[in-house]
């Protein structure tokens, strides 16, 4: 069949025109403008002078940037691997159930993931409330001293990481369940004929076959948690925001509180580069793994 190339190109252009307009406006242009802005001393809105790499060199010795950077790293460490681990354990448990029971239990684990962050914030702010939170009664019963969790620097990040794992775990559980379903039942049957123990089965069959999903879940979580803002911001209200800074929070502070668009853009570019590098590395690793198969 002959293809009418010119007609096809024309139709294609019509089809992608709305998309190109939207992406040009909300993605390509803001990205270029952000890089541009980071080399100026402009306020949030309005023109500024070209200052070269000044905004970047200033970041190096800045206390708030330091806090934001290390808090982000700390949060990633507290949430990514523990979150993946918890999700895997729960998925292994859920995969033993069948039919309606499995659907019900999965729904209980998945429901938090569907909720908006502000609802999650209200629920846990209430549950962990210093005066009336139900968790504090449990503390009392066990003889642990009450702590104003979101007001102390030591407890803040671990608590936010805990809430984040509770909130987003359903997503990872779902991916692990899909991975577990993809493992052929015959392998387990063959192994049980050989009288293989539960633990050996997990170590020799489930764990290695589940590895691609584990890698996927870990990287999705890593990229997601590098961009943390919402929970940290909400739980910081009335607390100590300057001790709890993370990178996106710092961008927000510089741009929208201090009205320093240029300096905020420099932080944004740094985070931008971190996330892009992690994504590209991940993309290459996945390609490598695929080729090895």
């Amino acid at each position: 069949m002959l293809r009418n190339t010119r007609r096809e190109t024309l139709v294609a252009l019509v089809l992608i025109a709305p998309f190109l307009a939207i992406y040009g406006l909300t993605f390509v242009y803001p990205t270029v403008a952000m890089v541009n802005l980071s080399f100026t001393d402009a306020p949030l809105i309005g023109p500024g002078q070209w200052v070269g790499f000044d905004n970047y060199t200033r970041l190096a010795g800045e206390r708030r940037f330091d806090t934001a950077f290390w808090n982000t790293a700390y949060f990633v460490a507290l949430s990514v691997i523990p979150g993946t681990f918890v999700a895997m354990v729960i998925a292994l448990g859920v995969s033993r159930l069948t039919g309606r029971m499995q659907a019900l239990v999965l729904a209980l684990f998945f429901l938090p993931y569907i909720l908006p962050v502000s609802v999650v914030y209200r629920l846990w702010d209430w549950t962990l409330n210093f005066q009336f939170g139900i968790a504090m009664y449990v503390f009392d019963i066990w003889g642990i001293e009450r702590v104003p969790i979101f007001k102390t620097t030591t407890w803040f990040m671990p608590a936010v990481a805990f809430v984040t794992i509770w909130w987003t775990c359903g997503f990872s559980i779902l991916l692990f369940l899909a991975g577990l379903r993809a493992i052929p039942a015959e392998i387990y049957e063959a192994a049980s004929l050989d009288n293989t123990g539960r633990w050996t089965m997990f170590r020799r069959i489930t764990w290695p076959l589940l590895w691609p999903v584990t890698a996927l879940v870990t990287t999705i979580q890593l990229i997601l948690q590098l961009k943390i803002f919402d929970q940290v911001y909400l739980f910081s209200t009335g607390g100590r925001p300057n001790d709890n800074l993370v990178l996106v929070y710092y961008i927000f502070q510089r741009a929208f509180v201090n009205n320093q668009g240029g300096r905020a853009a420099a932080i944004a570019v740094v985070l931008f580069l971190i996330v892009v590098i992690v994504s590209v590395l991940n993309f290459q690793l996945m390609r490598l793994a695929e080729r090895r198969k």
Partner: protein, 280 residues
């Protein structure tokens, strides 16, 4: 395998199942606790012991939230922006997915790379320039301004492309024989075969948009233009430090998405696994 070791393995299996059930109940407990607390009178809420059911069941906090605060207005804003973002995302992504999957044109490869690139770019870092852009367009405190940056959603395009790729070529060739134009082929052949995935993608796009916090939080400064997700955290004076009222507002904010999930459970989980790149 001896009988006793088989029984032992069943016992261990039973314990694991039981533990899973207990953890599942504990996992959902904070949600239950939030709902129950919102149904108690304020003086019962702060009692220093655990009551799993209200002594006096009351809806006063819901009535208060719905009549005395701007929550109704926020609901309208949330519905309008989430529905708008969903319709725009689905319709534009469907067209691009079709073009990428079925047509040959010069810009095809760079276009594909642009979409893959937008996967990697963290939109949170673009907030400054999104704000400048939307401010310059005079769209702060408007529905359009809230929607605009939410339209970067490359996942929907990729999922559509994959589904259109799977439609057998014979359908397309038969339609071309009949002299059907591309739009006719898309809407009469490809879309009807993919209503399932369209529903799934539409529901999760709605949920994502309803739940988005950072951008609607920045784009709106006027209380009456806030979405409910932002509103319930920003206007504390509306609720005071009355925990039950705050929780009632939170329940109202989470209700639509929770219902969407519970009603369309299979579709939601399908779309979410697809969005992670796993064939559902």
């Amino acid at each position: 395998m001896t009988a006793s070791s088989a029984r032992q393995i069943n016992l261990v299996g039973g314990i694991i199942t039981l533990l899973t059930l207990i953890i599942a109940v504990l996992w959902a407990f904070p949600i239950y606790w939030g709902i129950v607390s919102s149904l108690k009178p304020e003086n019962e809420v702060v009692r220093p012991y655990i009551e799993l059911w209200p002594e006096t069941l009351t809806f006063e906090h819901y009535i208060f939230a719905l009549t005395e605060t701007q929550i109704g207005r926020w609901y309208i804003n949330s519905i309008a922006t989430a529905v708008g973002a969903t319709i725009l995302t689905i319709s534009t992504s469907m067209l691009v997915g079709y073009a990428l999957s079925q047509l040959r044109f010069p810009l095809r490869r760079p276009l594909y790379w642009l979409i893959l690139a937008s996967f990697m770019v963290p939109t949170q870092t673009l907030i400054i320039n999104h704000f400048v852009l939307v401010a310059n367009m005079g769209l702060l405190n408007t529905w359009a301004g809230i929607i605009l940056p939410q339209l970067i959603n490359p996942v929907v395009i990729i999922v559509y492309k994959q589904f259109f790729d799977q439609v057998p070529r014979d359908f397309r060739e038969a339609a071309v024989m009949d002299n059907a134009g591309e739009f006719r082929i898309l809407f009469k052949v490809y879309m009807p075969m993919n209503w399932g995935v369209t529903t799934a993608l539409a529901i999760v796009t709605f949920i994502w948009s309803w739940n988005s916090f950072l951008w609607p939080f920045l784009a709106v400064t006027k209380t009456e233009m806030m979405t409910i997700t932002v509103g319930i955290t920003q206007v504390s004076d509306a609720f005071g430090v009355y925990y039950a009222s705050q929780l009632a507002a939170a329940v109202l904010a989470g209700l639509p998405v929770a219902l969407a999930y519970l009603l369309f459970q299979r579709r939601v989980t399908q779309a979410i696994t697809l969005s992670a790149g796993i064939k559902g």
